[in-house]
Each structure stands twice: as structure tokens, then as C-alpha cells.
Symmetry: C2
Subunit: 349 residues, 2 copies
């Protein structure tokens, strides 16, 4: 009998979203033990938008706020104008629920093949702490004289001491908890001087409170190069919203592909529920065929477990994923649910 | 006897800049034939900044305008505050001389090792056409309540129909001249909606004039992933100033490293001289030791030759570099000038 119950919102979304979420929930169920998840499913995504024109109605947002944690599959469909669901649903959730930490581990599991030659799991084990609520993602900007030869389109990156300090503090905590205790700021301070300077000054100031953490700085362009040529350089990275978006996709590429990349949109102050989701999108081209890899979602479930204080369960899920990945090459093609079954079995076994 | 003379400004710069430029000029000399380069050298960079506080004085800029073409080594030194020379010299030159095309080939030469497993020269052969005079590089932005908990720092990306159309037109011309005739727009239009939409609409409109060119679109985050996992996807890419900065560094990483990456800051309307430079920086840690690879500068010289209408000479330089690279693995370590000598000899021989 479950001794603790947690309110979980599930947003399966579009394309492969529902398939991978089903496997994530299967594993969550297998690991739960005396923990019960009270699930509520929300039909947000392309279908709802087509039906009602809504992306994230205020009433649903209000309900989400009452949940303790959210699991999201993926949203987006070619039939919906680019950006509609991304901004109206995904980004709106991140901003409204103050997910100021977008946490993205980049880790090469043993047995997983990487496109990089001569690289081993020891070489790729980092955590990217991406800012989630400001920077170039604010939507601030506009267009003047649209459609004319005199059109001007602007986008503004807005960065605040408040926003930058809290994400940097979080990154120091993550760095202090890891064996290498290294934190790298990734930015472009030689060009984006105002924002870069705010990040730099804040890093220096907070660093005084963490003498055990070594800090350094790397321009984003150089960092993307080092991800490919010397990934071992990095332990924990803190970076802005846009740079974090970009480097975590390269991170996914070097660590076995987007099918394995997990993420958490975290509100560390717990003033609203955090949301866990695979980094990949809805992949409509393979939806409904049982071809999607649910591993990223299952690893996101492990992050969710960590967030709700179930570290032991999280470790069991990670261990099960790690074992499954180590055997995968020998197993040949498996369907989405076969992978989910195999991992769930290891978790409970 | 030289039948044509071209005014060439040389900016050796800092760190390894002078060493690699010397080799670039050696090769230029070897290829020139009946072409003479009337060289003027400009001592811009860290030393001048320390001596006089100047990065690019107006009088020097005025002189540069009278030149036909510029060769730059690299600028930057840890003793100079980050951004000072980058913005005051490099970016100022790009903006003042209206280098609206930043042309960056990404090509894996035979015999060159890439960090990517199982990739051959056929897989990596693209040209990135990076916008050079607007986007997030304008310097527009500011800081309010600096140093307080209420600080706000902004950076604005400014994009104009004028600026976007001209770089897209140039990219179509490049794409139309290549066998695969494929042009990919790289942006982040689902988040940077105003700027992304301007790029998208302009691409569609100009595409009507180039029915022979196939176009597509890729988000910048996905593009960085595909650079690593499927570089073959790309033929010609057009992108904004910041995204171009980032993806060309990954491009350098996959195509054999920053020691081989050439670039041109091009003013296609020839209202001011264009500037050619290696993508790498001044690498002060290896300066003066003969360790720098001059190949990127030599390939930039080939681009310079193309720009001044000496396509035949450009092809000879590229061919010599290609032959040298193919043999490099067997040759062991060579100094900066040994590499320059070897390539110059092939060019003249
Ligand atoms: C879908 C898009 C808005 C989103 C982002 O840019 O953050 C995605 O790329 C991600 O990384 O989660
Ligand atoms: C030095 C810096 C300003 C520059 C840029 O960002 O454009 C460099 O990275 C480049 O790519 O040429």
C-alpha cells in the first residue's frame, strides 16, 4: 500500500509523444513501490489547437499549478504553424511556472555508439544548466513595415540580475555535488557585451561562496567545437536560454542521439510544479509505428523521481536504462513498448 | 613583369597572426604570376591598443577603404579586455566596410582526420553564408541599474529586409553555382519569430527567381546536431550573424579543426574592400613557436584570389593545399614556415 501520493500531470502531446510517455509511465509504475502517482492527463497539443484554437488555456494552466510535477511527451505537428505550440504551450509553461533551470545531462552510457571517433563514456559526462525564463526567449521584439523593403524585425534578449544569479547559484550547487567540481560559463561576452558582462560578474561574485568549485569561461562558438573535439573539458556548464538550446542538441548528438536525451524544466523554489520531458520533438514521420525510442522519456522520469525526493528510485531507473543500453547492440531492433517493457522489468526485478 | 597590380592591406595582428600571415603572403607571392600585390601593412591589434588606446582609428579605416582587398591574421590578447579588439577592430571593420557576407566553406579534404567516425570527404562539403552586418552583432542594447540586484541587461538583434535579402540573394547565387544546388536556411523561427519570419518570407520570395535551387529550413539546434550526425545534409547554408558564428565553429571541428578553416568577409557590391582571414583566433599560448598551422590563412588567400578575379590562381592554391594535406599524416610535425614553404613550392612548381 502506497504511503505517499504525488499529483502528476501528464501531457502526452503529439506525434510520438503519447507512445514514449506510455513507456515512461510503465517504468514509473514499476519503480514506485510505496509511492503512488495520482495521474491527470491533459490533452494539449496539435489536436486541441485544431479543435479549439487553444494552446494552453488559462484554466488548464491553473490546474497544472495545482499538480506537484509534470511529465510531457512532445508537442508540434506540421499542420500547425511553426512556433504556435512551441511558444503557446511549451515556452508558456516554462515561463508561467518559472522553470528557470532547464537541466540537461549529457552523458555517454557504456555500449552506446557516438558519432565521435575514439571517445569513451569517461569522456562525455556533463550537465548543462540552461537558463529557462529569460534571454532571447522572452518574445520581446517586433516588426516594423512588415512585408516592405523597409521592414525591420527585432528580437531582444532580456537578462536580469535576479534571473542570472539564481540560475548560476543552482549551477554551483550542481557542480559542488559532482566529483570534478568544475563549472564553465558558456556565453559570447565579446559580442553580447551587456548580457555577457552580467553573467561574468555574477559568476565571479557567487564563486566566492564556492571555493571548492573551479570556474572557467568559454565562448559559445568555441564550446560547440570542443563538444566535438574535446568533450571531456566539461563537467557542469551554465549558459543562457538560446546557447543552452543549441549546445544541448550537440550534446545529444555526441552522447548517442536525441533518442536518449532527457531534460527537466525545474522550478527549484517549488513555487510551481517542475516539468520533465525528452529533448526530442514529436517526430510525426515515425508516429504510431512503435519506432520511437522511449529512453529519453524514461531518463526524464528518473529526473522527475529525483525532483520529488525519490533518489533511490531514480538511481534504479538509471541503472536499468544503463544495463538495457549496454545490451542493446546485441538485441537488434525493438519496438517502443519492447524497450519500455525491458527497462520496466529490470527496474522491478 | 606584372600586368596588373592590386592594392592589398595586410593586418598581421596578434599572437600567431603575423606567423600565419607570413605564410599566406609567401603562397600569394608564389601564385601571383603576372599579378602584383602592392602591400601595405597595418599594425593594428593588442600592441597598438596598449601603446595608444586605439583599436581602429578613423584615419586607418579611411586608408583601408582605399585598398582593394585585406588579409588579416588574428587579433586578441589576454592582456586586453575581452571584446575590445573583437568589437573595436574586427567587427568594426566588418560593419564599416559593409561585409554583409561572411563566407565560410566547410570542407573535409582527403587525408584529413575528422573527429567523426566513418565520415569521408564526400560527406562534408558545404558553404556557410553567414550574415555579417546585423542580427545580434549590432551592439544595440544596454544595461540598467548595473551592479545592483535590479540590473537589467539587454541585447537586441536587428534585422532588416535590406540586409536579409542581400545575403539571401548571395546565398542563392552560391547554391546555383554548385552541383547539388541546395540551400538551407538555418534559424530559430519558432522562438525568434520576428526575425525568423523575415528570413523565411525573404527566402520564399527570392526562391522564385531560382527554380533550379532546392530550399529547405532547419532550426539551429537541430542543425548543430546534424553537423555531427549527418553533415551530408548540407550544401549551402544561409544564416544570421550569431548562428553562423556558432555553426561554422562546429563546421571547423568536423572538417579537421580550426587550423584549416578559412573565411571571407565579403562586400559583394565592392563599395569597399573585402577582408579575408582564418576563422581561428590569435592563440597566444603557441605564438612565436612556429607551431601554428598556416593552412587556414593560405586557404583564405585562395578565397582572396577568387574575389579579385584570379580564379585560376585560387584553384592552384587549393590544389596545393589539398595535396599537402593528403601527405601530411606521413610527414610528421612541421613548423609553420615548413608548411608554408611546402605549399608555396607546390604552387609554383
Ligand atoms: C521547441 C523549442 C521551443 C524548444 C526550445 O527551443 O527550447 C526545444 O528546442 C527545446 O530545446 O526544448
Ligand atoms: C572574435 C569574434 C568577434 C568573431 C565573431 O564572433 O564573429 C569570431 O568568433 C569569428 O567567428 O570570426
Amino acid at each position: 500500500m502506497a504511503s505517499r501520493s504525488i499529483r502528476l500531470a501528464v501531457i502526452p502531446g503529439d506525434g510520438i509523444g503519447p507512445e514514449v510517455v506510455a513507456e515512461g509511465l510503465k517504468v514509473l509504475d514499476a519503480v514506485s513501490g510505496d509511492l503512488a502517482f495520482e495521474q491527470t492527463s491533459y490533452d494539449l497539443g496539435a489536436a486541441r489547437w485544431h479543435r479549439t484554437g487553444e494552446t494552453l488555456p488559462d484554466s488548464v494552466l491553473a490546474e497544472l499549478r495545482e499538480q506537484e510535477v509534470i511529465l510531457l511527451g512532445a508537442v508540434g505537428d506540421p499542420s500547425v504553424p511553426s512556433g504556435t505550440l512551441e511558444r503557446g504551450l511549451l515556452l508558456r509553461t516554462r515561463f508561467e511556472l518559472d522553470h528557470y533551470v532547464n537541466l540537461r545531462p549529457v552523458k555517454l552510457f557504456p555500449g552506446v555508439s557516438t558519432p565521435l571517433a575514439g571517445v569513451t563514456p569517461d569522456d562525455i559526462d556533463m550537465v548543462v544548466v540552461r537558463e529557462g525564463t529569460e534571454g532571447p526567449y522572452t518574445g520581446v521584439g517586433g516588426v516594423l513595415r512588415k512585408g516592405t523593403p523597409h521592414e525591420v524585425a527585432t528580437q531582444e534578449s532580456v537578462n536580469t540580475a535576479y534571473g542570472v544569479e539564481r540560475v548560476i547559484r543552482y549551477a554551483f550547487e550542481v557542480a559542488a555535488s559532482r566529483p570534478r567540481r568544475r563549472l564553465t560559463l558558456v556565453h559570447k561576452d565579446n559580442v553580447l557585451t551587456f548580457a555577457g558582462d552580467l553573467y561574468q560578474r555574477t559568476l565571479k561574485r557567487v564563486a566566492e561562496e564556492y571555493p571548492q568549485v573551479t570556474t572557467d569561461y568559454c565562448h559559445v562558438d568555441a564550446a560547440t567545437m570542443f563538444f566535438v573535439s574535446q568533450p571531456r573539458r566539461y563537467d557542469v556548464i551554465v549558459t543562457d536560454n538560446l546557447f543552452g538550446d543549441i549546445i544541448t542538441d550537440i550534446g545529444a548528438a555526441i552522447a548517442g542521439g536525441i533518442g536518449l536525451a532527457a531534460s527537466g524544466n525545474v522550478n527549484p523554489d517549488r513555487t510551481a510544479p517542475s516539468m520533465f520531458e525528452p529533448v526530442h520533438g514529436s517526430a510525426p514521420d515515425i508516429a504510431g509505428q512503435g519506432k520511437a525510442d522511449p529512453t529519453a522519456t524514461i531518463l526524464s522520469v528518473a529526473m522527475l523521481l529525483d525532483h520529488v525526493g525519490e533518489g533511490e528510485g531514480a538511481r534504479r531507473v538509471e541503472q536499468a536504462v544503463s544495463e538495457d543500453l549496454a545490451e542493446r547492440a546485441a538485441l537488434g531492433a525493438r519496438s517502443t513498448s519492447q524497450i519500455g517493457d525491458a527497462i520496466a522489468k529490470r527496474v522491478s526485478g
